[in-house]
Point group: C2
Chain length 378, copies 2
């Protein structure tokens, strides 16, 4: 079946663009709203901090949006971090340069596409096995490109990364013998630390993780490897990890949008992302809203209603159930706004950001490389 032409993504974007000029609460719901002032504040807060400490290479997984990445780079970011080849390609297609994929990669098409983009864009990839390094090298050679690599070191998350400094040195040696790739540094993401609510404890755990990373770094330098990049850090540890003298750059992402889960841990950044919904049903106790897990990710926590004294009872696929103290508030048809619970997963579920300034939509920004990744990239 041939799809009708109106299924084009440009048409989708044009449909959303009709909301430009509308008031925040007039939008067709559910609508993901990005407060431009808070976004700018968050970018400036991070920029001010990085002028005095390590640099930031903001993680695009948190927003998947070229327009946001450009603002971050304009404010001094050294480049962009990506979780997938498709996020990296989306950024590279839009002219952003110096992109780190902070995950291990395998698969012929993905490596080929990455290697081809590396002919025009500076690309870095995390590697934790010689098998992955060899596959990357083959793709780089076939494309006539050079791909930079960071040795990924497990500093406690126990996901990717080599487990010991011995392994790190052996891998670095193997990688530096391969054609088409260039060893540029190390990476150690302390993801196991970032949700620790006690700030002092979080700082101690982050310091321990960095000690592991630095141990391996010293070993590599002792063995004669030149280490230019030391990448680590997250939004909730930016001012801990990023203050370490040997960390050259942070891969924090969430700070730019923030959310109801991260904001209490790192109040320096302001939640800029909210979901607008409409009350579609009401009984004495509960207002039923027309948004649920198909537009709001709950990986780390639920959204937070802006409405005072309203409490989330449940979030279903297409509904949020909001228990109300005041029986007269939130009648059928009224708009309701909630701070997004988890920005990265929620961005992945939505087509666009409705960019709002002074209460009105001033622009609509597409969200790219969603789900399996081809959306907006091909």
């Amino acid at each position: 079946m041939a799809l009708p032409h109106r299924l084009g993504q440009e048409s989708i974007l044009n449909a959303y663009r009709k909301s430009i000029g509308q008031r925040r609460h007039e939008l067709t719901t559910p609508a993901l709203i990005l407060d431009l002032n808070f976004l700018r504040q968050n970018i400036e807060t991070m920029a001010a901090w990085t002028r005095r400490h390590s640099k930031v290479r903001p993680h695009a997984k948190a927003h998947k949006c070229v327009e946001i990445a450009r603002l971050q780079v304009a404010a001094g970011a050294v480049g962009i971090t990506a979780a997938t080849v498709w996020e990296a390609l989306a950024m590279a297609c839009a002219g952003l340069d110096n992109i780190l994929i902070a995950n291990e990669l395998m698969g012929p098409e993905k490596l080929k596409r990455l290697a081809e983009s590396a002919r025009e864009t500076k690309v870095l990839v995390a590697v934790d096995s010689s098998a992955a390094g060899e596959a990357l090298a083959r793709a780089a050679v076939a494309a006539g490109a050079t791909i930079g690599v960071l040795v990924d070191i497990d500093v406690g998350l126990h996901r990717g990364g080599v487990r010991t400094c011995g392994e790190a040195s052996a891998l670095a040696a193997a990688l530096s013998r391969l054609p088409g790739i260039a060893l540029r540094g190390v990476m150690g993401y302390e993801g196991h630390v970032v949700m620790e609510p006690d700030r002092a404890l979080r700082a101690r755990k982050a310091a321990e993780a960095m000690e592991r990373l630095m141990g391996c770094l010293e070993g590599l330098e002792h063995a004669g490897f030149e280490i230019e990049i030391v990448s680590a850090g997250s939004t909730n540890t930016y001012d801990m990890t990023g203050a370490h003298p040997r960390v050259t750059e942070l891969q924090a992402g969430s700070y730019v949008l923030m959310d109801a889960t991260y904001a209490p841990l790192t109040p320096a950044f302001k939640p800029a992302l909210s979901m607008l919904a409409t009350v579609v049903s009401r009984n004495e106790r509960t207002a039923i809203l027309d948004c649920g897990t198909k537009v709001m990710a709950m990986d780390l926590g639920p959204p937070a209603p802006v409405e005072p004294c309203a409490k989330i009872r449940a979030v279903h696929e297409e509904h949020t159930l909001l228990d109300m103290e005041d029986h007269e508030r939130l009648r059928v048809g009224e708009p309701v706004e909630m701070i997004v619970g988890y920005c990265s997963g929620t961005a992945n579920l939505n087509d666009v950001y409705h960019v709002v300034e002074d209460g009105r939509v001033v622009d609509v920004w597409p969200i790219l490389a969603r789900g399996p990744g081809r959306s907006g990239v091909v």
Copy 2:
């Protein structure tokens, strides 16, 4: 910024279509795989059952796919159920007729779009308040259309629906006085029952829910309302609720794709949906796969690895951590398949189904009306 033309959704679909002819395990990962034989079996199992009992109006929320809906209608489904206006429009645009939106609706654009489509397509909507009925009537009159309505009765889920039979009768009376809408029946979705693992207890709870629905139905008929449609049921209660002599149609959805969560409760249907991933990192204990919650919804439960003796330790945003008994299995670069944990949410996260028969991709079917709903609809 104008987006480059390659961002078109048709281009996305064409990119995926390049996989047609590929072997199941050669696909670029993560890839959502639909086993055509199991899909056909599930459709036939439901069709055989509904030939002897109530009819089925399959819920498109479970698949968001025109091609699947067409197969269901060809096998005897009376129409299609949808969760949102956008799902309904996606189905209507593809020529599917007789569509029930089994949720309350509000919002001027959505009601306008629905009313306009009701000029060409038979449309039914659940209503539980006179405010929603009046808004629907205004939109129908403005579009010169008639929209059918079902009085939504809360049979225990406590989400939408009127709470008492008195309210149901009062609402039916109010609705039948409104222009542009036609009272066609009642709906009572027993969503609070469907995850009860004990089949006998589930059957008893479903029967109790139907008793509530029938009580209100009798009240309405006693008051002189003509009730043509009585809609209820889900995949896990299809042979309970659907055996009730007064239930005219089921709104079951998941049965057609099934998943790791529903299959143990309702083994008559076979899991047809799986996620293909690649091992991107490996240590002694764990294989790290390149798929996570950005392509697999975890609302009801995790995916189930096909690989024997492999156990899900965690599902992160872009990774699944698979603990392995056998240290030699699943090396870096190998493909891994998992039965999807929850089909409806997972479909919502993916661009297409890779339709597989006899081990090869035979077609690629787009997934429409994802997230906020405009994708593939506009």
